[in-house]
């Protein structure tokens, strides 16, 4: 149990945001004890919900004066324990900061508060023929502030890139309440250090973004979605290589392995994938309608060449939703098989996928664990899923050991320990797999420039102890 908030501090916070928006009741704090990674649980000392930028500044100042650590939190959908209130922190939630401050269709820009939901922005932009491209799987619930903190990805990154490409400006509150106005689409990016780019993905350790300026894109005119069914995972991976080799650039290339297909088909979300298939591949093209049928035909030929048993093409939106169903539900349905699911996240160079997948399955077998795979094959971003029962301490230890081996295999193949979920509290121990002491020290030094007193999201990202130099 964390220490209660000193009454003097609580009173000052209530004065800033109003009594209803400071949560100290232990029962209500339980909602905030973990994020999407429920393996870690730690209730915060308090949760403060400011209404706007000015209130964030005042709240941060009050906490700074009391030397109380601050963790910013959006919807809590993160998968690395980044929003966990470690070190007796107070959570500053952005749930009330949901305004779209400006939607500038002429310049294809939006300025939003951090609590705006990812999908909410695309919806607001739609009447202008625009949308916000990065689309993490949690897009209907995750906030743009969280996306900025995590540099979120999603299934369409292969063509469109990740969050950092779309963030053009930020208003940031530092740990002592100072405010920085960074970047902005009106300013020449080549005239300055890319402080916006440095901030994106800093997992709440540098500052709290209270205003976010992002670029919007024109809605693609058309979409074509294919589903290839393969006997083996290797065949599906070969099809991906062939599609890329053809010079095609799909918006998404997603693989669902046999184990995941079986789980989906046995659930209420059955998508009609054949349960004896070794893998399914979703290929999606978007853009100018006129070019899409030709691209889809070439991709279909690549699938058949690679040994696809069947290739389905969606002809309407309902069909498209159905083809995606197996991919989108592949995580949720695992609850049927085991009480706990660990979704891992790593990236490898795409051509190493077949070999790395093979080695991951071997690791699973060696530990006697149920491992399945769903992944963004286009950009080599893997999400191995490990099923287990937390109540069984022995299995839990095996899951941890297997996870570490999987990470080591990915790094050895030229990859990295996280492609889109972030390091948070969960992967700090793996950071030494990818970085040496000098790199970690440089990262700590850069963090300390932004956050000199260490009050912002302490105990995250870098392993303990890293001394800056």
């Amino acid at each position: 149990m964390s220490q209660p908030l000193p009454e003097k501090v609580a009173r000052r916070l209530r004065h800033v945001v109003g009594g209803d928006h400071v949560i100290t009741d232990p029962d209500r704090l339980l909602v905030y004890e973990s994020d999407g990674l429920t393996a870690y649980k730690l209730p915060p000392r308090a949760v403060v919900l400011p209404a706007d930028h000015d209130e964030v500044v005042e709240v941060v100042k009050v906490l700074h004066q009391a030397s109380i650590p601050v963790v910013a939190r959006g919807s809590g959908t993160g998968l690395s324990g980044g929003a966990l209130a470690a070190h007796d922190a107070v959570i500053v939630g952005t749930a009330r900061m949901r305004r779209i401050l400006a939607l500038d269709a002429a310049n294809r820009l939006a300025r939003v508060e951090p609590g705006v939901l990812n999908a909410q922005l695309s919806e607001a932009a739609r009447p202008h023929g625009l949308y916000y491209a990065p689309d993490p799987s949690s897009q209907t619930t995750c906030t743009l502030g969280g996306n900025v903190a995590e540099n979120s990805g999603g299934p369409h990154c292969l063509k469109y890139g990740v969050t950092t490409r779309y963030v053009t400006g930020l208003k940031v509150v530092l740990s002592d309440g100072r405010v920085l106005d960074l970047g902005g689409a009106a300013r020449d990016p080549e005239g300055a250090y890319d402080l916006v780019g440095l901030f994106v993905g800093s997992e709440g350790c540098f500052g709290i973004a209270t205003e976010i300026e992002v670029r919007l894109l024109p809605l693609p005119e058309g979409v074509r979605t294919l589903l290839g069914i393969f006997e083996t995972l290797e065949d599906a991976a070969r099809a991906v290589t062939a599609i890329v080799g053809e010079g095609l650039l799909p918006a998404a290339l997603e693989i669902i392995d046999g184990a995941s297909i079986k789980a989906v088909e046995a659930s209420a979300y059955a998508a009609g994938y054949p349960t004896d298939a070794g893998a399914a591949l979703v290929v999606e093209f978007d853009g100018t309608d006129a070019g899409l049928d030709a691209a889809a035909a070439r991709a279909e030929a690549c699938c058949r060449e690679a040994g696809a048993r069947d290739v389905h093409r969606a002809t309407d939106e309902a069909e498209r939703t159905r083809l995606w169903q197996g991919r989108k539900k592949a995580f949720g349905v695992m609850g049927r098989i085991a009480p706990d699911l660990l979704v891992q996240d790593a990236t490898v160079p795409r051509t190493r996928l077949p070999d790395v997948l093979h080695r991951i399955m071997q690791i699973g077998e060696r530990y006697g664990l149920h491992v399945s795979n769903v992944f963004h094959a286009g950009d080599g971003n893997l999400h191995p899923k490990l099923l287990f029962d937390r109540r069984d301490a022995e299995t839990l230890a095996k899951v941890e050991a297997a996870s570490k081996e999987i990470m080591a295999v990915c790094v050895e193949a030229g990859g990295t320990i996280t492609g889109e979920h972030g390091v948070g509290i969960d992967k700090r121990g793996y950071m030494t797999l990818v970085y040496g002491p000098d790199e970690l020290a440089a990262m700590a030094a850069v963090r300390d420039v932004w956050n000199p007193d260490g009050l912002l999201n302490p105990g995250k990202v870098l392993p303990d102890p890293v001394e800056s130099r």
Binding site: L180, A186, E190, G191, D194, L217, G419, M443
Partner: protein, 421 residues
């Protein structure tokens, strides 16, 4: 002073030290370097920087982007020209890792053999080096269709001002392991570390590269069409407005990339939206046109870059027009205008200041790409709330101030400020 230079000279293999008679050839901004060193390995770059005390080091690649730099003496040139070669290129990965001194033209050749390219087209692109492009950010109008170079750099190896070798990022497309120092390095102009190698994301070469051209006697007559391109439902690979054309007059050039049918359809949608018919150019003619546009208004004694939101393009052009005899290249999608002047105008300091203030009034910025030292200095903005942060970042990666060279940033957000001034 000579001992400082002797120490740095002694830190590398004698073959990496250029003979005395060549030094003048390496002058930067009329300042002659005390030594020119061409290290042949990352270890040698590191040894050199460890040995650098009381001397500035200026890393140089293709020397295409130096016109506003005035090194402080004594300074030593670190040329990356011996650090060449592709380290890892697996076409199926759509990524390439190469050492910093590799020229863009040699890398483009390697990529073209596999039907791939790096969609980045800054002025004098072929002579640029990979390290130089990463260090300068290599602004290019192709950002509209593909993202900017900073979006394509997946990882860098740098040597910090005090000689630490840092491998930052990686060579995969999605990577959120740790803080994104790669972004900090891209566009930092060698002031935080010497880029010794970089991994970039590459793309399939488009089947069709079509330029759509619209001409008029003056750029102003094309502004309405240019703005309409910026709001069209079709995202072009790039769109620029240039004046004067080789034969006089102005041209709006919109590049469309994609499969044959898609480019045809994009052209008609664009023409419908803009309300006019463009002249389509493809093949060799399109290539030579895009090269012309790429280098337009760049190689001039004085070059300024004005930036504001795209919807302010007409106002930005108005500011550009206050400069005498200007050659103009506007990136229509970004709202950025490069202005090249054939000579340094009289009262240049005053006109740069006036332009800077006018751009601020538009919510934008002015960056000096090339100018005499006093003019470049005049554009420097006053310290702002980011000044302390920037000083801290410099101190953490270049604690002795070895890599700080005045003029590396002129104008824009932060000029010659910080702990080393």
């Amino acid at each position: 002073m000579s001992t400082a230079v002797d120490a740095i000279r002694a830190s590398v293999d004698p073959r990496a030290v250029a003979p005395e008679h060549e030094l003048e050839r390496w002058s930067v901004g009329d300042v002659v370097p005390a030594a020119v060193l061409t290290p042949g390995s990352v270890d040698e770059v590191s040894a050199l920087l460890r040995a650098a005390h009381d001397v500035r080091v200026l890393p140089l690649g293709g020397r295409t982007h130096l016109a506003a730099i005035r090194p402080r003496e004594p300074f030593v040139v670190l040329s990356t020209r011996r650090l060449t070669g592709v380290e890892i290129y697996e076409p199926g990965d759509l990524t390439l890792t190469a050492t910093a001194g590799s020229t863009f033209s040699s890398l483009s050749e390697t990529l073209a053999a596999h039907g791939q390219w790096l969609p980045c087209d800054p002025p004098r692109a072929p002579e640029r080096t990979l390290g130089g492009m990463v260090a300068t950010g290599a602004a290019s109008p192709l950002w509209a269709g593909y993202g900017a170079l900073r979006d394509h750099v997946l990882g860098v190896t740098i040597v910090t001002g005090d000689g630490r070798v840092l491998k930052l990022g990686g060579r995969v497309m999605k990577n959120v392991a740790g803080f994104d120092l790669v972004r900090l390095i891209v566009g930092s102009r060698g002031t935080l570390g010497v880029v010794v190698s970089a991994s970039v994301r590459v793309f399939p070469t488009p089947a069709v590269d079509r330029s759509l051209v619209l001409r008029a006697p003056r750029a102003e007559a094309l502004l309405t069409a240019a703005r309409a391109v910026g709001t069209a439902p079709v995202m072009p690979a790039s769109a620029v407005l240039a004046e004067p054309e080789p034969g006089g007059g102005a041209a709006l050039v919109v590049r469309l990339h994609g499969a044959e049918g898609a480019v045809d359809a994009d052209q008609s949608r664009l023409e419908r939206h803009v309300g006019t018919t463009f002249e389509p150019v493809e093949g060799a003619a399109a290539l030579s046109l895009s090269h012309h546009m790429r280098d337009h208004a760049f190689e001039q004694p004085m070059v300024l870059r004005l930036a504001a939101l795209p919807s302010r393009l007409a106002d930005v052009m108005g500011v550009a027009r206050t400069l005498p005899h200007a050659a103009i290249l506007a990136d229509v999608m970004a709202g950025r205008v490069r202005v090249g002047m054939p000579a340094v105008p009289p009262r240049a300091v005053e006109s740069v200041r006036a332009c800077r203030d006018a751009m601020r009034g538009l919510g934008g910025t002015l960056v000096v790409e090339a100018a005499p030292a006093d003019v470049a200095a005049a554009a420097a903005p006053p310290p702002d709330e980011t000044t302390g942060l920037v000083s801290g970042l410099r101190a953490s990666l270049d604690p002795r101030g070895t890599l700080w060279n005045p003029g590396a940033f002129s104008g824009g957000r932060h000029g010659p400020i910080g702990v080393h001034e």
